[in-house]
Symmetry: C2
Subunit: 164 residues, 2 copies
DNA sequence: ATCATATCGTTCGGAACCTAACGATTTCAA
DNA sequence: TTGAAATCGTTAGGTTCCGAACGATATGAT
């Protein structure tokens, strides 16, 4: 089966312009396409899946972290979800209103709060996550297994480069 | 020079959990790492570069589109920037307040508005973009030229898969 | 000329997003 | 025991983000 690896029109036009500026075009191509894919997946998922459950992408992310790891304290939950503590406060408020999550005070430390998924939240996640994984599978369907592994590997290398 | 392609701790823990759910782990690894890299680059860039100019990431993106292609109508500018028309209205308002962009009415059609970068905006972009490209280069520094090309290629294939 | 339909950009309303600062609480050195 | 410093989660204030709806304008059929 043939598949399309051609440069998208948006990338081609931008590339022509930025090439004239004497920049690292390989780096530009890699990073700009990461943003394009991330935006496309996020927008697609919000529109076709998450809106059914009144969830934002970050709401979904937070609920997913709770579903995978169980109850977490606010600061850790914010870090694992990639959002700030103040944003987490607002997102958890929304999840509480939807009945998907609940706060629980820490037994020993009055400053801390646990957040946990409710049964309703876990039930919603059992519905949502396989469908989200279908999106992940659809998005990568034209890549071979080796290509998927190489892609994930290159991204991990980039993450480690940012950590040093 | 050795380099680190190991699975990050965040990915490893998540992977163990989601493997138990019988999902497409290759797709999960690829897509979840795309989000991790996109988030890391965006946060890093906002903190270390864009805050100097009071720019959000989307403000930067919109200004970049104007810088590369010249004045654009609002609806096209929104589409090229990956945001909605209503968001663009707000972001352009902020760019106007910063003196980086200006609106101009369409000569023939009272409904339409052109947006253009100002001299101040262009000057700021000449400062910002090379430094943003340094971030792009830093993030990809541990990838070979072949690996960068394979990464960009795999991402393009994914973009095309989403378009069909 | 008129009217229905479509398009444009803005406004509305509400959620997400951030940093800085705050009050409450904990920790630890003296 | 006391008080300084640190940590936690929330609040404040402002921007970004969206879809729906609106007023203004353009288009095209009649």
């Amino acid at each position: 089966m043939t598949r399309d690896a051609s440069v998208t029109r948006a990338e081609r036009e931008a590339r022509e312009r930025v090439e004239a500026l004497g920049i690292d075009v390989g780096a530009y191509a890699a990073v700009s396409n990461i943003f394009r894919v991330a935006n496309a997946v996020r927008n697609h998922t919000e529109r076709t899946l998450l809106s059914e459950f009144n969830l934002s992408f970050s709401g979904f992310t937070v609920l997913w972290v709770l579903w995978v790891w169980g109850p977490k304290e606010s600061h850790a939950l914010a870090r694992e979800s990639g959002i700030s503590k103040s944003t987490l406060t607002g997102v958890v408020k929304t999840l509480e209103r939807l009945g998907f999550a609940a706060r629980k005070p820490h037994a020993m430390d009055g400053r801390r709060v646990f957040v946990q998924a409710t049964r309703k939240g876990i039930s919603a996640m059992r519905n949502i996550f396989p469908r989200f994984n279908d999106v992940e599978a659809m998005v990568t369907r034209d890549l071979s297994i080796g290509e998927k592994e190489n892609l994930a590997r290159a991204l991990r290398i980039m993450l480690h480069s940012m950590e040093s």
